[in-house]
Structure formats: C-alpha cells, structure tokens
Amino acid sequence: MMYRQRLLASSLLLLTACGGGGESESSSGEPTLLEDPIFNSGSYTVTGTVPGTLIEGFCDDGSYYYTHSINNGTSYHPFSLELPSDQACRLVMTTNEESAINRVVVPIAFQLDGGSGIAFSASDRIDLGYIPLPLSRAAMVADSNGDGVEDSPYTIDSNTLDSQIGGALRARMALATALTDPLDSNRNGIVDIYDDDDGDHQPNRYDDDRDGDSVVDRTVLSDDLDGDGISNDRDRDDDNDGIPDLYDHDRDNDGVSNDLDDDDDNDGVVDSLDSDTVSSSSVLNDGRAAAAATAAVPDGRLLAAQCAQCHGTDGISVSGIESLAGEAGEIREEMAEMVQRAGSDIMSLQAHGYSSEQIQFIASWYGAIGGSALSGTYNPLDSDSGESDHDDDDD
C-alpha cells in the first residue's frame, strides 16, 4: 500500500450539518478547476507511525484528505498525509475500518503552548511520532455511547513529542483560535461526521440513516459512478481511485483511456453531449503516474540491496564471495544459524544486525530474483582464487 490518496468531498461533510435527507449542494457551488485543485496555497505533510490505520483530515473549507498507513510488516506502520497550509484541519484515525462492529475511531487533539484542540494548521512537515491507537473496542479509553468512537480525543503533547523525536510541532503548528468550529458544532472534540446523532451506535460517517427516520439518507444517484453519494458532476474523483479526475487518464476506471473512451465517466452520455466531461485535451494521459502510485515495492528490496556491497548487485557476485540470487532457503538457514552463535567473522556479525522478519524479507527478495539474471562481467580487480566462506579470521 505505497500510495497516498486525496480527494475533495465537500458535500460529504455538509451532509451532516444538514442532518441527512439526501444530497446537499455545496455552498460554494461548483468547484472551479484550478491549476492545482487540491492545494491552492501550499501544503505540508503530517507523518508518523500507527498500527494499521485509516488516517483522515477534515479541513475548514470542506476539503477532505485521507491515507492508509503502510503495512511494513511491523506494528509501526508509517503514514504520510498531505494537508493544505491555509486551512485549519482535524485528524481522525480509524483502526479496523472495514468492520462495523470492531471499528475504533480516535479523534486526535494537540496540546500546544498551554492550549489544546483538534483544529490546527501547520507551516511545514510535522511528525507525530508513534500514536498508540487501540486495535479493539475493548482497548478503548472510553466509549459511553458504544459507537466505536472514543469519547475524547487522543491528545498529543507537543512538548513531549518535540523533546522525544524533534517533531517540530511547537515551531510549525498553530491551533485554531476561533470559538466556534464549523466541523465540530457541539465542540465535543469529535468532528460532527463522527458524532452519533441518532444514537444507533453508528457514527454519522457510516450511518446511512443519520436522523433515525428509517429513510435512507442517500438517494441512489444515477450519475454516481463510485457510489459515494456525490454525483459525478460534483465529484472530483468519479471512480474513487484516488486520482482526481483532472489528472486521471481513465476517469471511470473501465480500463479504457479517456482519449479512447467515448464516454469518460460511463454515465451513458457520450462525451460530446456530456456537460460533465473534462475535455480530453485537459486530461493528462498519465498512466505512468497512476501505475507508479499504486505499485507496491516489496519490503525486501532495500534490505536486500544492503547485501550487494559484498555479494554483488542483485546478489550476483563477481568475485569469490558467494552469490545470493535464488538462494532464499540458504539465506534463511545460514543467517538463522549465524544468529545462534557469537560473531567471529564479518557475516556472522552482520547477521546479528537483522531481525528474523528482516531476514525473511531479504531471503524472499533474493529467492524471487532467481540465479539467471546477470553474469559477473564487471571484474575490476583480479581477485584471488577460492571461495570466501566468511570465516576470515584465522584465530
């Protein structure tokens, strides 16, 4: 999951303010497509590590940003979320997001120079360090209404964080000072969209009947490709693939590039007659960006590359040190064995530097390469003959 997604969904937020009853027009009307539709006045990045988590940002202008933490095989999943610099935003983190009964939602607040609050802005990259989110309802601090949303936000103390990891929060962050919060009208520290207005133990965000009148709020829209309740003509990302339509070479995700697709948004209206179609000349046919953004990089790539100084690029040695390409089993066995005994040669000591999980990543990476790729053709020094078995110390 090596991608970051962003989308605008202003009407999604306004739904809550209206208390349900179907779609609401955005008060700002049809958004204007700008050169940079997401960040008109710059942005910054929030980083940190969490357990497996959905991280959402809700900003004053109704813009909405989200990302998923990256499962790197540890319990510290890094994330990076880009937020606009000119807006006060609020962070909400959700574990087990896929499960209505196990989902745990944690609003994030900040303690900063004597004040505290959930709405903040920042001038530059901030790092929140590790945030110990509960992974089950049982581990929650308090959930009196049983909606899976913590009653009070988890508060990050900027002083503590700055002194521990140099998160630069005090230098770069400011809390919103307004007495009212447009996204938290009852000032309970939970953005309205995560309140549970009708007390049915489902926060509004996931409740399709927010006012409890037994009428499903969202009308099924005929022109809503991704079913997010935002009709395509007002949805910045028709197919919800994380690539805003302006930059999406395939807006309806039908596998046909817009350039070749007579009906870019699959609404049954051909583009020439469709008022909701960005002209193809302004759509960047950038399949590479889409592919790159979603291509997962195996965990082993970087770890394995650190063996190459001695064992050769891609594990194909050009000298007497053994090759690693295609040797997954051997790597696992030998390194596990080395870790068991005291290090008396370079490789044994190196083996002690890696966790068993990392060794698995490395082994898997070299196993996938196979032994066939390259042969050693670049041999700048005439090496002495004989295999080096790493037992280099005659003592």
């Binding site: 090596m2 970051r4 997401i38 960040f39 710059g42 942005s43 910054y44 980083t47 990256i70 790197n72 999943h77 890094p78 994330f79 990076s80 001038s123 530059d124 360090g129 521990q164 990891i165 140099g166 590479r288 960006a289 790159a292 953004a293 291509a295 990089v297 790539r301 970087l302 770890l303 590359a305 650190q306 190459a308 100084q309 001695c310 050769g312 690029t313 040695s317 050009v318 000298s319 007497g320 040190i321 290090g343 370079i346 000591l349 190196q350 002690h352 530097g353 890696y354 990392q358 041999n379 700048p380 020094l381 005439d382 090496s383 002495d384 080096s388 280099d392 110390d393 005659d394 003592d395």
Partner: protein
C-alpha cells in the same frame, strides 16, 4: 513547501515539462515526462545512487554530474603506496553506468544550485531541472596555516595525491623520517590513517632500512581496531612507528616539511598531512551544512536535507553520525534512492532502513584486518544507531583476510560503478 507540493502534484505533467523548456533552453530531457533526479558527485555514494535509481525504476531520468572522467578509489589506495597495486586498477570510468543503466553522465562541474526553482547550472552554462537533487560531494579540507597540498600531500582523495605520496616515499633516503598527521574525528575512513601508518612502516622496513614513521594523532587514542593497530605499532613495527596521541596540528611549514603541533614541531623527510575535514563545497553553497557548520543534517529515512526540501545529501558530507567511508556511502545511497522512488510515486520512505559498514584494513603487504557494524533506524531517536551485537573487528591481521579483502572490494566496486 508551497512549490514543492505543487511540483509533486504535477509530476509527469506535460505542462510542467513544457513550461520548464520555455524557461531553460538548455534543459536536458525536456520532452520526457519522467521524473528528473540529478545526482552531483560520482564517488561511492553518488555513483551508487545514480545506478540504483535507474536499476529500480524506469520512471526516472537520472543525470550524474561529475567533473572528473575517472574516479580514483581511496579504498585500497594505501596499496598504491607500497606498490602492491597499479593505480589503474583502482580507477573507474562512468561508462558502465551510462551504458548499462542509461544514466546521463555529464562531465562538468556544478556552479550554482537554485533550490527554489529546483535547477542546477554547470560550468558550461547548462541548466538542469530536478524533481529531486542528490548531493554527494564528499569532503573538503579545512584550512591549516601554511599547508600547501601541492607540496605536502594529503593523499586522502585518490589519484594524483596518492601518486605524489608514493613518489616521495620512494625518493626518501634510507633512515629518513616519515611523519603523518591524523585529524580529529569525524573524518573520512576512520581506520585509514592507522592502516596507512602500518602499510608504510611495513614497506619502509623492507625498502628503507632505518626509516621511521611518526604518527601525530589529534585524537586521544587509536580510534578503531585499537588492539590490532596497537599490536602492529608496538610489536610488528616496534622501533619504526612512534605514535603520539593528542598531537593536534596547528600549522605546517610546507617548504621545510615541518608539522607544528600541540606537542611540538616535527620535521620530516616526507610529510603527509591529512587535514581536518568537512562536507564538500556544494553543501555549503546550497545552504544545507547545518550540523556544526560542517556537515549536512538529513532525515535518515530519505537523506533529505533538514534545511531544504527535495535536496538529499549522502556519503561523507551528510551528518547522521554514521562513519564516512565508501562502503556505507553505498549503503546510504540505496536508502536514498529507494526513498526518492517511493516519494516520487506518492508513497513514503521505507520506515526501517538498515545500513552497514564493512571494511578491510591492510596491516602489511600480505595481511589485513577488518571492521564491521550494522546500523538500524531508531524511530524514537530518528537516528541510525549501531546494532550492538553486529559490531566487531578482526582479532588478528591475517593473509586470509588479505585475500578476502579483494573479493569484498571487487563486489563493492562493481555494485557501485558496474
């Protein structure tokens, strides 16, 4: 961060490339929508970064800017002093990086870096735009009063300087005095000066009877492999090597070949001054030398400067506290290259990078020792830290180590320049 984010967002946009072309007629690769990564400096760190960026991704256009046509490895270069190695065997061109990996090698020097417009200018006036810039300028020497390195070699960069020291040693009279100075840490290649003292002492013993080696060390003691080095100084080379700690160099009489130190004046027949060091000129010009004014502070997850966005510093010039040497410079380069590719794809750097240091140290013409450590990223301190169980050194200098040293060097050279 405003411009950076826009750039990131518009990555690959034809509009960006077109606009850049209009701004800079000399721009390379204006027609492509690939991301532009420019690497400045073709030593171990820079060459490795260029190679792995291209090796791991076809979505980046990699330009390597290095004024020298040939790189002369400092690694193993003490074996030029004792004439065990022909200098040509430690010389590498950038042809393999260009032909095997499609890297644009620009044999020019960088004159200006504009970190706002994100472009570098070379001595020919060529302007090259970047999405990400990697600086790998290595070291530069701090000023020592009276030091003229055209007379008194440092031999701490490969090539002519090493040849000059070799020639001076060859011309030294029997019974002559070789004096060398070691700067206070941190400096490039921690074991290197001690290795040099040993290799030269061994050679003098056999070739210049009665000659001596005086080691003037600004540090309070032997910094690395102290048991083996001390054993060599006091046993193998007893009567040849004189080791003096806390001998900080204050000035040099270059014409008279005298080292002026805190402990007194040391006249020499051959004087080798390894001056105190700091990160190369480019990090100072780019305004990123924010660690003690000497080194570039970087985030060890990506080696991105803590001072300037989209600018990365790897190798000896960076200030993470990892040792300054070619093997670990290669390791840092891979972390940086991997992070840049992930960032350009809209992701985040790998969260738990590892690096490692390993080197063999010749102690004589036929024996060597070694030193190694693995470094892991600590997310709490946000530093690279030694994994204690992984750190160690040889217990004796052996001929087997000497053979293994060439296996190591071969793969390291090939992994970097091949």
């Amino acid at each position: 961060m405003t411009q950076i984010s826009r750039r990131k967002f518009l990555k690959g946009a034809a509009a960006t490339a077109a606009a850049a072309t209009a701004l800079a007629p000399g721009l390379l690769h204006a027609a492509t929508t690939n991301h532009q990564v420019v690497v400045v400096g073709g030593g171990f760190a820079g060459a490795t970064a260029a190679k792995y960026l291209a090796h791991w991704s076809s979505d980046v256009t990699v330009t390597l800017i290095e004024p020298k046509l040939t790189y002369h490895s400092p690694i193993l270069s003490n074996l030029i002093l004792n004439q065990n190695l022909d200098p040509a065997r430690l010389s590498f061109s950038y042809a393999a990086l260009a032909s095997n990996h499609g890297i644009n090698v620009v044999n020019e020097s960088v004159t200006t870096i504009d970190t706002t417009l994100q472009r570098v200018t070379t001595n020919s006036g060529q302007s090259i735009a970047y999405d990400r810039l990697i600086l790998a300028p290595g070291i530069r020497f701090q000023t020592i009063e009276g030091l003229d390195s055209t007379l008194i070699p440092h031999a701490w960069q490969g090539g002519d300087q090493v040849a000059m020291l070799r020639d001076q040693l060859q011309a030294m009279p029997a019974g002559g005095r070789f004096v060398m100075t070691i700067p206070a840490a941190p400096y490039r290649c921690p074991p290197g000066p001690y290795e040099r003292a040993c290799v030269v002492a061994d050679w003098l013993q056999r070739n210049k009877p009665g000659a001596t080696v005086t080691v003037l060390d600004a540090n309070p003691g032997i910094l690395v492999e102290p048991e083996i080095i001390n054993h060599a100084f006091t046993s193998s080379y007893a009567g040849v090597v004189e080791y003096l700690p806390n001998a900080t160099l204050t000035a040099v009489d270059s014409a008279g070949k005298v080292a002026v130190t805190a402990l007194g004046d040391y006249p020499a027949d051959v004087l080798n001054v390894i001056p105190p060091q700091e990160g190369g000129a480019l990090i100072h010009e780019a305004g990123v030398a924010n660690v003690g004014g000497r080194w570039a502070g970087v985030d060890p997850l990506s080696y991105e400067s803590t001072a300037v966005a989209n600018l990365h510093v790897i190798g000896d010039a960076q200030g993470t506290g990892q040792p300054k040497a070619g093997h670990i410079g290669n390791a840092e380069a891979k972390v940086c290259a991997d992070a840049i590719l992930r960032l350009l794809a809209g992701g985040t750097p790998y969260a738990e990078p590892m690096t490692n240091s390993a080197c063999y140290t010749p102690i004589s013409a036929t024996t060597a020792s070694w030193l190694t450590a693995v470094y892991a990223y600590n997310p709490t301190s946000r530093q690279m830290e030694v994994v204690p169980a992984s750190a160690g050194a040889a217990t004796a200098a052996t001929s087997r180590n000497y053979s293994a040293m060439f296996h190591w060097a071969n793969n390291l050279f090939a992994d970097t320049f091949g």
